[in-house]
Amino acid sequence: MTERGPETSDADTIYVFAVCRDPDPTDVVGLTGVSDDSAVSTLSLGTLTAIVQTVRAADFTDEAWQARLSDQRELERYARAHHDVVSAVAARCPTVPLPMATLYHGERRVREALGEEADRFRAALRRIAHHAEWGVKVYAPPSTRVDRDARDGRDEREGRSDRLERDRRDDPHDPERAPARQVASADRTRPAPGAGLAYLNRKRGAQERRERGQNEALRIAEAVDAEVGGLAKASRRLRPQPQAAGERRVQVLNATYLVAEHRAEELARLTRTLRERTGARIELSGPWVPYSFVGEV
C-alpha cells in the first residue's frame, strides 16, 4: 500500500462491476468486491442500476495494474473478486457484466457515462434473458494424435541417437581403433541396402500419421462446434489455451455458447454423446454469466 492519500481523491474513484435491472439493495450485502475499504453498493441510473464500489485511486492506476498483471496471485485475486460479484448479482437479477477494471471519477461520471448507454444495456439484457453461457473445450484424442505421434517421434529420436552412438564407437578418426576398423569393415554395420529409403519412408509415414491425426482432431473440433452450436442461440470461438508442461493433450477447440436455460440438460446429454462418438476428451463448463454475449453482435 502507498501512503494514505487525501480521502477525497480516493472517494472519487468508482469501480463498476455490472449493470442490472431491478436489483434488491440487499443483493450486494456481504460481497467483498475488489477493496476492503468500502462495501459493494448499488447506484441508480434511472431504470437500470450499476453495481459499484468506491476504491482507492492509487490502487487502480494503469501502473498499479501493469504490476498486478505480472503477479499471478494478485491478478487472480482481482479477477475472482470481479467474477464473484458479477456471479452473485446475476443469480438475483438480470445482469450485464462490465469488463474488469472499469473505473470512473465519481458517481456523477458513472451516471453520465452509463446512462448514455442505457439502450445498449437494455438490448444486452434482452439478449441474455433466461440464457447462460457454457464453455466447451475439445482435446485431441490421445490415440489419434498426441500419444501415438509423441511415441513415434520419440522412437525416431531414440533410433537415431542409438545409431549415432554406434557410429561414434566406430569413430574412424580414433587412431587406436583404425586398424581394427579396417579388418572389421566387411561386417561392420554398414547400412543395409535400402536403409536410407526405409528411413525416408519411416519419416514420411510419421509425417503422414501426424497430418492425419491433426486433420482428424480438427474435424472432430468442427463437428462438436457445429452440433453444440445447433442448440445454442449464439456461439464464439475463443483462442485455444496453452496446456501445462508435461500435458501431452492438445486443445483443438475452445468455444463458448449462449444456451437457453431450459436446454441445459440437452447440452449435457449432447456432450456425453459426442464424447462417446468421437472418443475425444470434451470438457463442458458452466453455467456462466453470459460475459461473452453482451457485447456488440
Binding site: 443469480a91 469488463p99 452509463l114 494424435r145 528411413y199 483462442r239 496453452p242 508442461a245 458452466g286 454469466v289
Partner: protein, 110 residues
C-alpha cells in the same frame, strides 16, 4: 489467498464450482460490453497473459518448456510451428544424407 474469501456461498452462484483462472480471465478481461471508463487501463491480451502467468506458475526449470515454447512449437496450433517441423525434418534428412555420403567413399578403396 486464504486471508481473503471472495466466495459467497450463502446463495446460489451461477458458474462452475471449480473455475480455472484462464477461463475466468478470458471472460472478465475483454469480451463483454465495450464501455469506456474514465481511467484507462491497458489489459493484456488473454493469450499473452496466460503465457506470462504460466511462466510464474511453472518452476524456473520447466518454465521454458511450459509457456512460450510449447505454444509456439505445437504444429496443431501454429502454422509457423508446422513450417518449423518441416524445416527440422529437412535438416535431419540432410544430416543423414551427409552421414551416408561420408561413409560411402571410405569403402571404395577396399
Amino acid at each position: 489467498m486464504t486471508d481473503v474469501d471472495f466466495r459467497q456461498r450463502s446463495y446460489p452462484v451461477p458458474g462452475p464450482q471449480t473455475t480455472n483462472l484462464a477461463d475466468i480471465l478470458e471472460r472478465v478481461l475483454d469480451k463483454g460490453i465495450v464501455i469506456a471508463g474514465d481511467i484507462k487501463i491497458e489489459l493484456l491480451d488473454i493469450e499473452l497473459l496466460t503465457i506470462r502467468l504460466r511462466l510464474f506458475v511453472a518452476s524456473v526449470d520447466t518454465a521454458k518448456k511450459a509457456g512460450i515454447d510449447w505454444w509456439e512449437n505445437d504444429p496443431a496450433l501454429s502454422s509457423r510451428a508446422s513450417r518449423d517441423a518441416l524445416q527440422e525434418e529437412n535438416r535431419d534428412l540432410r544430416e543423414r544424407l551427409k552421414e551416408l555420403e561420408s561413409e560411402a567413399p571410405e569403402r571404395k578403396p577396399r
